[in-house]
């Protein structure tokens, strides 16, 4: 098992963000987490990378209690691509991507030949090699997001966590980067856990979908089994049509205009997302 999450709860003050969540995630799959804003998706990622600790329950990574990993060895297991990336100091693209190699380098060592080789290869695959010597502070938001993606890939971890990582990318780079993540799953048996806002992107890339609402899991399983109009309606309160699309060779979801006044109110807004 890559992850074995059992009966995990998490609070911000008195607010319950995650309520008794249990999940078993075998390795070698592309997992998608979808759900309305504020449903606890990002908090779940934070718990999986141990940026936060659960108030109750336990999380095992490869059979070992997550809290028992030393920080540095955990950073060789999981990498994160965050949603927003803000930087105030003029590092070059190449320097930022090289930071992904820090967990593999002794504290006072210079990068090895292999580190340079990995950084270069990753920069080419993510299409950022063209501005490797430019300052990240001078790049556009989408370009910077690709640099962050490259940095996470350079970390070379078996688990990759994506937190709405493609939300400010154009469609070309969205497909390219999610494709790279999926390639790692197919070729090297890596595990990707992605919080996605776009349900059709999720349908395109994920093997397994986890639907969340109000800090709990509504439904999860193989994408063929769980991607249904009823699930989408239960989670998002919208009517949708789900059908097999021969062009993408996947199930895809279409929506129609809905009058806001006729949509039932949503009971979200718990905590942050």
């Amino acid at each position: 098992m890559a992850y074995d999450v059992s009966n995990v709860s998490f609070f911000y003050g008195d607010k319950k963000i995650l309520d008794d969540v249990s999940l078993v995630l075998p390795p070698g799959k592309f997992y998608g987490i979808v759900g309305p804003n504020g449903c606890g998706k990002t908090t779940l990622l934070d718990l999986l990378m141990r940026h936060k600790a659960p108030a109750r329950g336990q999380i095992l990574l490869n059979g070992k209690e997550l809290s028992r990993f030393p920080k540095k060895s955990l950073s060789r297991q999981t990498a994160l691509v965050p949603q927003n990336f803000y930087i105030n100091f003029p590092y070059t693209t190449a320097e930022i991507v090289m930071m992904g190699r820090y967990p593999h380098m002794p504290r006072f060592a210079a990068p090895s030949e292999e580190d340079h080789r990995i950084v270069k290869a990753v920069m080419e695959k993510t299409d950022v090699a063209q501005f490797e010597h430019r300052f990240v502070t001078a790049l556009s938001g989408g370009e910077r997001q690709r640099v962050v993606f490259a940095r996470a890939l350079a970390q070379g971890t078996p688990v990759l966590l994506l937190d709405e990582a493609s939300s400010n990318l154009d469609i070309n780079h969205t497909l390219r980067l999610l494709g790279l993540a999926a390639e790692g799953v197919g070729k090297s048996g890596k595990t990707v856990i992605a919080v996605l806002q776009d349900i059709n992107l999720a349908a395109l890339y994920c093997d397994h979908l986890i639907f969340m609402k109000n800090g709990g899991i509504v439904e999860q399983g193989n994408i063929e089994a769980v991607l249904k109009p009823e699930t989408i309606n239960a989670v998002f309160n919208v009517t949708a049509k789900v059908s097999f699309d021969p062009f993408s060779n996947r199930k895809q979801v279409v929506f129609r205009k809905e009058a806001p006044s006729e949509m039932p109110g949503m009971s979200t807004g718990r905590g942050r997302d």
């Binding site: 141990r50 990498a79 990336f85 590092y91 820090y102």
Partner: protein, 352 residues
């Protein structure tokens, strides 16, 4: 193959060259400063005096005016080395503060360290506390700085660790309260008010080897801690969440670095009074040469800070007809210079 490789190697090579050149420049500046003053002493005699003091070999002093060793060893060198160490300490802690607070405009005083030190010193002066001789003022200044630091950290701590916005805000609030306190102390001080004002403006006059030893101990200790965590500081600039995912202990590391940098700044202030702009300006300038990587920025800032503050102190001590308080001089030179580079940066950003 590796264009990136060769450039990085070149940069690293350049880094070693930079450090060697700056260290050489600093040594030359120390010797030159020791030759200057009311009595001009030839550089060769300065070197002889220092060499004989280091080796204990009095033979070397043959042919040197017997007044020179006293002037160099007892008067000039303590002041010169104190200015050098305070300059390096302020520049280094400035670099660290900017790194942790993710704000290139932060300086060692951002968390209210200077206001705390000034308040402590004012209390000591006002109450005329002399139980520790000349050391009661620096001791009170240091205690004021440390107490302020911990209060600011206490104010801004939340369950999520330390956020840079909280720290900056708390620092500003506490500093504002303390400055009001200082004004009140000045109002109460009567004839002592001159002493308080003079202390606040900073000075390296009448520094002793004990001051030098204290500054040296704290700067060396601080430097080792900061260089040890320099790589983690680089990762902190990516944001806490990303830094944590790269293996940085995002609760412990910022706290250790903040306390270390503030202690160094606190010692500097208690030795010299408040000297502004060195901690803000030096890391700014150095970033143009080394880039933002803290593993290069911190050592180079240390050397540049030492050279600049020594130069400023030598100008006010030996070049100007009357001594200007060093804190006033650094603000008068540093302030406009900062405006200049800040403006230049705005223009560059606009044309980009």
């Amino acid at each position: 193959m590796p264009i990136a490789d060769s450039i990085i190697k070149k940069l690293q090579g350049a880094f070693i060259t930079q450090v060697i050149m700056l260290a050489g420049l600093l040594f030359a500046a120390v010797i030159t400063a020791a030759t200057m003053g009311y009595i001009a002493i030839p550089a060769s005699d300065v070197l002889k005096v220092i060499a004989s003091a280091l080796t204990g070999d009095t033979q070397m002093l043959a042919g040197v005016d017997e007044l020179f060793p006293v002037v160099v060893l007892d008067v000039r060198l303590p002041r010169i080395l104190a200015a050098t160490l305070v300059g390096s300490g302020l520049a280094m802690s400035g670099a660290v503060f900017q790194g942790i607070l993710l704000n290139p405009l932060a300086d060692p005083y951002t968390l209210g360290v200077s206001a705390g030190a000034a308040f402590g010193a004012s209390v000591a002066i006002l109450l005329n506390l002399g139980f520790l001789g000349t050391y009661s003022i620096p001791l009170f200044a240091f205690c004021g700085a440390v107490a302020t630091l911990f209060f600011v950290i206490y104010l801004s701590a939340s369950g999520e660790g330390l956020s840079s916005n909280n720290l900056i805000l708390s620092g500003i609030i506490v500093a504002a309260i303390l400055s009001a306190g200082i004004s009140f102390l000045k109002y109460l001080a009567d004839e002592q008010v001159g002493v308080i004002i003079f202390w606040l403006m900073g000075s390296f006059g009448s520094k002793t080897w004990i001051d030098v030893g204290l500054a040296f101990a704290f700067v060396v200790f601080g430097f080792m801690v900061c260089v040890f965590f320099a790589r983690d500081l680089n990762l902190m600039s990516l944001g806490t969440r990303t830094a944590a995912s790269l293996g940085v202990d995002t609760r412990k590391v910022p706290l250790i670095l903040l306390v270390t940098a503030s202690l160094v700044a606190g010692v500097c202030v208690s030795i010299s009074g408040i000297i502004g702009f060195v901690g803000l300006l030096v890391p700014h300038m150095v970033r143009f040469i080394t880039g933002p990587d803290n593993r290069r920025l911190i050592p180079v800032s240390l050397l540049v800070g030492a050279i600049l503050l020594l130069t400023a102190d030598t100008i006010t001590r030996a070049v100007l007809p009357a001594e200007i308080p060093i804190g006033v001089l650094t603000a008068l030179i540093g302030g406009p210079f900062f405006c200049y580079i800040f403006r230049k940066r705005q223009k560059v950003m606009r044309s980009d």
